[in-house]
């Protein structure tokens, strides 16, 4: 961290194989240091960091004050012991964290790799080196790809560690260097690269290679970034451009924004108030001291002359002020912050340990990645959820189809051919029957599915197992469906497609692929079958396709508004003519895209409909229930999705966000500023109107609000925030569609800014990262889309439904515990400290403490810390099932009822009351009392012991009252603390210690002399009763007159009665029986069409490779036009999912579910994407 600051680079110049030249620029080496300290710097740096905390500095300041003898009213150790304890706990935590960072740094830095000819460690890579990468190796630095073992200088990489996308990407070296395959040639390569300085843009690179007096432009396509893994590529060579901290991976791992909870902020405010209070108290006592010194102290000087520097009462008062600041400092408890951290850490562990948030299918337990936000989980008011992969599984299954007007749905299925995917489950006997009997429509239907796609095959040579790699999972689902019905896609070459149709191998020659794009919303292939007939197969969105069908054919689409399949026979002449025009368009240099589209459009006409299919993106398990439960808990759920409106609405219905009893569903989809504003206003007024006119009606009345992004763009851009908010917040559910990642974050920021509510964002993909980072709490679903979202999140788990447990159980408990903890903490410190204030009036405001200094030292860290810590850790007001049964229990957290300024004042008032009792009762009793042997009890030490004992007992009784859940730990800690108090006190007042340090341990014998007196115990009992009885009475009254739901729920016998009102009504969940809704979604990007037909990715030396055995056949898609992942609509680029990802268990489960809720609703349907 003490690296020399270099002037910012403006341009990077790298000369290959020329270390001397490159060293001139002092580029960072590849050694990565993420650790903060080493052994020598740890202590000073860590201490320096810790003292940047205001609280720590404050206590340091107190410590310095205490060293001034005229001021010091307490021994130095009363502050230094707790301070040292707090600092060392934090230091140990920091040290542990750093140790692990060191370990991972070392591991990464010492990875081996090949530096052209010799082996080296990662950290020794320098900019300008040429390194060799082998298959399945991590890329060591950002390198410029020079050449590969593959044809055309192609290589494949997986970027999961970089951006979370699990699919493969293609990189290609520039053609001039592609021939440099020999290490010796590479060693003499002396090209020079000029490029942009290090930055964090993963999708951009811009540079120029100067070699042999020529310039070659370099783009991101030529770069391999650190963190990628080389796949399906035997080896490749690259020139290191950026190393170590300059790599894009490291540039991107910027420190995440430090999140604070609202309790944190409140706590800081309160601590400031307490400082103010402290100064006031100090001021009052200083004034008192001035008066006293003037009236009495001045006269008392014959017995106690003023200290030499004090020459008048004002100066004495000044010193007294600081003395009192020292004494009263315990109102700001030094152990507060560290205790809060400990409790939060404990809560985080409970989240990690929760078995009910463990997903056995994916072997993932929930993880609290941030340990500082737990109690905020109990205050969430808005949830912003992604759709795909979060609410849905992002696993597409072939669900329904309609062939020639005949509808087939889900039934049981026994595979009829040996090549069937064992994990596939859909089936309808009728359909199977019609395949078997050879119904031509059905056959043509599945033939289309097996031919018209851009799926690749990854087949393992040794097992022969077929694994499809599709650009989008829905496309994979369709090809798999065909496969299971006996139309198996076996392999493809640039010019052919081989399938096995009902057991017979058929090879079609592939004439053209008319690829998908977002505007066309369809794709077609033109194939020549073995008989020589040319046919065009087309699949596409029904809306698009319907216009292109022969007129008589259109009514065949019924029910399923999904993906339509159609074909058209072409004559040789038609094909020749079209082919010519296509070639012409393809070669065009300007407007190539448009020309191609126009050609495509020309031939996709007059088609005959085959049928329609529906692909379902299944909802995750428990999503409707979770959403219903969360909305009963008064949490507003907004779905922000990149999908289009229809899809979003459908998913809204299927996950019960929208229900049929929502009488008004408003859809704002204006395109212009005016129209959006107008729509927003009209909706708003409607809400207003209905609210005012009939309140009763609105109670039952649920609104929904669907916002499409064109409108949203307007709202966010054109100062319509107010209108947007007021409307949106009046609604029960809000769905925003066509939202870009940035806009997701903007919506979250908007709510954060205007509603002052706690927001939670949940998502699973890289497109959710910005939203996750900007919300108060970010939750990552570790699902299909890699780990990017999880890495940015504060909490992560595998399934959306765990959210209910995270919020309603863990969050609620955390909030409750933290609030109770804080209330008690402030209470006990005020009770403790304010006794000094009252004593001030009797001791001439001389800043004499009431207690023994050891008691002051140990009170906060030993005598009273553990019981409250145990309460903060283990307390439960209601069991976890109850908080799920009664979601209304969540409301106090949202309304911030359990700890706010009012509660704080109640706490400190109670604390002050206790201090009054604790001072004046012993004062009144003891000032006149004597022991039974006549020795007066009014001596200072007896009084100190009595008050301290009474204090410890009172606060222990109070914690016992506050603790609602007495586990064995609570018992041990409460009784243990009391026991330790007496043990330690007797030890401190023992002869041994006194003999060694008489001036420190001058309380010798006080404990036994005082505590053996019955009158002392009568005093303590009286004080305890006076302190506790009013509290008890108030609590009882509150419970009796205004019982909280949690109080009621707690009563064991009351459950049944209340179930009806607060709990999830079963009726509502299943309410939406009748309406059939379906929708369809598309992956928003182009597929591999071009790459397939170009044949680039086909391996030339297939035979030689096969000889090597277990290598994967590298038939991999490239994604030349892959949109940059973090910007724009990167929704689907990560969707190359082998269909065999489906696990048997999950399928089984989904089948079961299918049966159960078959009458409930039509599942969300999203047909194949035409990517």
């Amino acid at each position: 961290m003490f690296r020399k600051r270099l002037p910012p680079e403006e341009e990077r110049k790298v000369k290959a194989n020329d270390r001397e030249y490159n060293e001139k620029f002092q580029y960072a080496s590849n050694c990565i240091v993420t650790s903060k300290y080493n052994i020598i710097t740890f202590l000073p740096v860590n201490l320096f960091e810790q003292f940047q905390e205001v609280a720590n500095t404050y206590f340091l300041f107190l410590l310095i004050l205490q060293l001034i003898p005229q001021i010091s009213s307490l021994s130095w150790f009363t502050t230094i012991v707790p301070l040292a304890l707090v600092l060392s706990i934090t230091a140990v935590k920091d040290a542990t964290d750093d140790y692990f960072r060191h370990k991972s740094d070392n591991q990464v830095n010492n990875r081996d790799f090949n530096l052209l000819l010799q082996n080296e460690k990662w950290m020794n890579v320098r900019v300008g080196d040429i390194i060799k990468l082998e298959n399945n190796q991590f890329v060591a630095a950002d390198v410029l790809l020079l050449s590969t073992s593959e044809p055309h200088g192609l290589c494949y990489i997986e970027t999961a560690e970089l951006d979370g996308e699990t699919n493969m990407k293609v990189r290609q070296s520039i053609s001039v260097t592609a021939e440099l395959c020999d290490p010796n040639h590479l060693a003499s390569f002396d090209g020079e690269v000029m490029c942009e300085p290090p930055n964090n843009k993963l999708d951009r690179f811009c540079g120029t290679l100067y070699w042999r007096e020529k310039k070659y432009p370099l783009t991101n396509q030529n770069m391999l970034l650190r963190g990628c893994v080389l796949r399906n590529t035997e080896a490749c060579y690259g020139l290191v451009i950026f190393a170590g901290p300059d790599t894009k991976l490291m540039q991107n791992s910027g420190r995440t924004k430090f999140k604070r909870t609202s309790i944190d902020r409140l706590m800081n405010t309160l601590v400031l108030w307490i400082f103010g209070f402290l100064v006031c108290m100090g001021g009052i006592l200083a004034v008192g001291n001035a008066i006293w010194e003037k009236e009495v102290g001045f006269l008392f000087q014959s017995f106690l002359p003023w200290d030499p520097p004090v020459d008048n009462f004002l100066f004495s008062a000044f010193l007294s002020f600081w003395s009192y600041v020292i004494i009263l400092n315990t109102v700001v408890p030094i152990s507060l912050y560290v205790s809060v951290e400990v409790i939060r850490l404990g809560h985080s562990y409970f989240i990690n340990w929760d078995q009910q948030m463990f997903c056995s299918q994916c072997n993932t337990a929930a993880e609290a990645r941030t340990t500082t936000l737990n109690e905020e989980l109990g205050q969430v008011e808005y949830i912003f959820s992604d759709k795909t992969g979060t609410l849905t599984q992002n696993i597409m299954t072939f669900n329904k189809c309609s062939i020639n007007g005949q509808s087939y749905g889900m039934l049981n299925f026994t595979p009829l051919n040996p090549l069937a995917d064992p994990n596939f489950c859909f089936y309808d006997e009728k359909l199977l029957e019609s395949v078997k009997v050879g119904d031509p429509h059905t056959h043509e239907f599945f033939r289309l599915l097996s031919l018209c796609h851009t799926v690749m095959i990854v087949s393992s040579v040794c097992t022969g197992e077929l694994v499809y790699k599709a650009q989008s999972p829905d496309e994979g689902a369709l090809v798999t469906a065909a496969r299971n019905f006996g139309f198996v896609f076996r392999s493809r070459t640039p010019g052919t497609i081989t399938t096995t149709e009902m057991g017979q191998t058929v090879t079609y020659s592939l004439l053209a692929i008319l690829d998908f794009n977002n505007i066309r919303k369809r794709m077609s292939v033109i194939v020549r079958n073995p008989e020589g007939r040319i046919r065009l197969y087309c699949k596409g969105a029904d809306t698009v396709l319907v216009e292109r069908l022969q007129p008589c054919n259109q009514e065949l689409i019924n029910g399923l508004r999904t993906l339509a399949l159609a074909y058209r026979d072409l004559s040789e002449e038609e094909w020749e003519a079209w082919s010519e025009s296509h070639r012409f368009a393809d070669k065009a240099t300007d407007c190539r895209e448009d020309r191609l589209a126009a050609t495509y459009d020309k031939i996709e006409q007059e088609m005959l409909l085959l049928g329609a299919t529906a692909i379902e993106d299944k909802l995750q398990e428990g999503v409707p229930e979770t959403i219903a439960l969360l909305s009963l808990a008064n949490i507003k759920i907004w779905v922000l999705t990149g999908d289009k409106q229809e899809t979003a609405v459908n998913i809204g219905y299927s996950c019960k966000m929208l229900t049929d009893d929502m009488t008004e569903v408003f859809i704002i989809s204006g395109h212009t500023v005016q129209s959006v504003r107008h729509e927003l206003r009209s909706v708003f007024f409607k809400c207003r109107f209905s609210q005012i006119s009939c309140v009763k009606y609105t109670l039952e009345h649920q609104r929904t609000y669907i916002l499409e992004i064109k409108s949203q763009k307007c709202t966010l851009d054109w100062n319509m925030e107010e209108e947007f908010l007021s409307t949106a917040c009046a609604c029960k559910a809000v769905i925003c569609c066509r939202v870009t990642p940035l806009q997701k974050a903007q919506v979250v920021e908007l709510i954060k800014k205007h509603k002052k509510a706690v927001t939670l964002a949940v998502g699973d993909g890289a497109n959710d990262v910005s939203m996750i980072k900007s919300a108060h709490i970010g939750v990552g679903i570790s699902g299909q889309e890699g780990i990017q979202a999880v890495l940015a999140s504060d909490y992560s788990f595998a399934q959306f439904r765990f959210l209910q447990r995270l919020l309603l159980v863990h969050g609620r408990w955390s909030y409750l515990r933290m609030c109770r903890f804080l209330c008690y903490f402030f209470y006990k410190n005020f009770a403790f400290t304010m006794v000094h204030f009252w004593f001030g009036f009797f001791c001439g405001f001389s800043a004499q403490t009431v207690y023994d200094q050891f008691f002051i030292t140990l009170y906060n860290i030993v005598y009273t810390s553990l019981p409250v810590l145990a309460m903060g850790m283990f307390d439960q007001d209601v069991p976890d099932q109850r908080s799920l049964e009664y979601p209304k229990l969540y409301e106090p957290g949202q309304l911030n009822l359990l700890f706010n300024k009012r509660e704080f004042f109640i706490c400190i008032t109670q604390g002050i009351y206790t201090s009054v009792v604790l001072f004046f009762v012993p004062y009144a009793v003891l000032s006149d009392a004597t022991q039974s042997n006549g020795v007066p009890l009014a001596d200072y030490q007896s009084f100190a012991v009595t008050t301290a004992t009474a204090l410890v007992i009172v606060v222990s009784v109070q914690i016992a009252l506050d603790t609602g859940f007495w586990t064995v730990f609570n018992h041990v800690f409460v009784w243990g603390s009391l026991g330790s108090f007496f043990t330690i006190m007797f030890a401190l007042h023992s002869q041994t210690l006194f003999r060694n340090l008489p001036n420190q341990f001058h309380f010798v014998g006080s404990a036994q002399n005082t505590l053996l007196q019955p009158v002392v115990w009568l005093t303590i009992a009286l004080a305890t009763a006076i302190c506790i009885v009013p509290v008890l009475a108030f609590r009882f009254l509150k419970l009796d007159l205004k019982p909280q739901l949690s109080d009621t729920v707690r009563k064991p016998n009351m459950g049944g009665v209340w179930r009806g009102t607060g709990s999830v009504s079963e009726g509502r969940l299943g309410a939406r029986g009748g309406s059939r809704r379906s929708g369809y979604a598309f992956a928003h990007q182009e597929g591999f069409g071009e790459l397939i037909t170009s044949g680039k990715n086909m391996r030339l030396s297939k035979a030689s490779l096969a000889g090597r055995g277990s290598q994967l056949v590298p038939e991999h898609p490239t994604e030349q036009d892959l949109p940059p992942l973090l910007g724009k609509q990167a929704m689907s680029s990560r969707w190359i999912n082998p269909i065999c990802l489906l696990s048997t268990t999950s399928l089984h489960a989904s089948l079961e579910r299918g049966k159960d809720c078959s009458k409930q609703t039509v599942n969300f349907i999203c047909p194949v994407s035409l990517s």
Binding site: Y349, G844, A938, Q991, N999, Q1013, F1036, D1040, P1043
Partner: protein, 352 residues
């Protein structure tokens, strides 16, 4: 926590199913219900009442008598005389008459009381050296700096015992006389055993003697400036009550917590008649050797005679406080019962 688990398989990372980790520890969940709170309130009220009555009865049996002698009777002269510091060396005695209406039965304790004397000032309380009074030779000759300005005299001779506490030691003495028909009888007082056992035997020790006499041990030190005699002459007759372990000194060194306090002076020696049963009723006088000046700080001095019960001297506050508390708890209990009965939502009105 974070332990490497040896398990493998699909459930390898499943958290342990322990009651602790799943937050299912068996627990006692007490609740405030009418059936627990109300009876305990009544019970508490009853207990407090019984305690209060018992204490009150006990206190009724004790007696106390306070005689303020600051400027009463002939002490007026002494009071005037002590106003002038230059007369500090002069002796002054005075006498106060008082009568006891009802005999003090049992052990009778005689205290001196001071009002408005702040033994609880921070710097005052710090101004002592417990090491010195523990008999440490090193501290004897070089007292702690806390004792300033009473650590050494003008000549630099260390003061023993040092500090403001010792220096300000109360030094009036009393002779109590009982006037019988046969004439005055001096009331015999025991002036030993006035302190905690630990003070006398642990906390305060004379420096090691090694066959030296006490004055020799204290050689090289001087008396505190306000004292009339050195520490080793506090009780020249009893070596166990001299020097740093003198009872009067110990009593004074145990600082009072509040500005008005009383300290034990002695107790009645009950071996001989007529004092075997305590102090009989009648006329008494107390002859005071009036040394301690209080007029500087507007203080008062008094002599206090008390008898004690099992819980100490006469103390009206405790029984009354108990009775009042009992009453208040009872009142609260009644109010709570009424509220619970009339308005409570607890149990009866669940249907609402």
């Amino acid at each position: 926590m974070g332990k490497e688990k040896s398990k493998s398989g699909p459930l390898a990372r499943r958290p342990d199913n322990s009651a602790f980790k799943q937050q299912r520890l068996p627990a006692w969940t007490p609740m405030l219900t009418a059936s627990t709170v109300l009876p305990s309130f009544y019970l508490l009220a009853l207990i407090c009442m019984l305690l209060g009555v018992w204490l009150l009865l006990t206190v009724q049996n004790t007696q106390e008598m306070k005689v303020d002698y600051t400027e009463a009777g002939s002490c007026n002269l002494c009071f005037e005389m002590r106003k002038n510091v230059s007369n500090a060396g002069q002796k002054c005695t005075c006498m106060i008459m008082f009568s006891i209406e009802k005999a003090f039965k049992g052990d009778v304790f005689i205290y001196y009381g001071l009002r408005n004397f702040h033994q609880n000032l921070r710097r005052y309380m710090d101004s002592r050296d417990d090491g010195q009074m523990l008999g440490r030779k090193s501290n004897l000759k070089s007292p702690s700096s806390y004792c300033k300005p009473f650590d050494v005299d003008e000549k630099g001779v260390p003061i023993a015992p040092c500090g403001a506490v010792a220096n300000s030691m109360f030094n009036d003495s009393f002779i109590l006389t009982y006037y019988t028909i046969n004439g005055p009888t001096v009331v015999p007082l025991l002036r030993k055993g006035l302190t905690w056992y630990t003070d006398k035997n642990v906390k305060y020790r004379n420096p090691k003697m090694d066959n030296l006499t006490l004055p020799e041990v204290f050689e090289g030190t001087t008396r505190p400036p306000y004292w009339q005699k050195p520490v080793y002459q506090l009780d020249p007759f009893d070596p166990n009550n001299n020097g740093f372990i003198n009872d009067d000194l110990l009593v004074w060194m145990r600082e009072a917590a509040f500005p008005n306090f009383k300290k034990l002076y002695g107790f009645l020696y009950r071996a001989n008649k007529p004092f075997t049963k305590g102090l009989p009723a009648g006329n008494y006088s107390v002859a005071i050797s009036y040394n301690f000046p209080v007029q500087y700080f507007k203080g008062r001095k008094e002599v206090v005679l008390t008898t004690v019960s099992w819980f100490g001297g006469q103390n009206h506050f405790l029984p009354i406080a108990y009775l009042v508390t009992s009453g208040l708890i009872l009142l609260t209990a009644v109010v709570l019962t009424v509220v619970w009965w009339k308005f409570g939502k607890d149990g009866k009105n669940m249907a609402d």
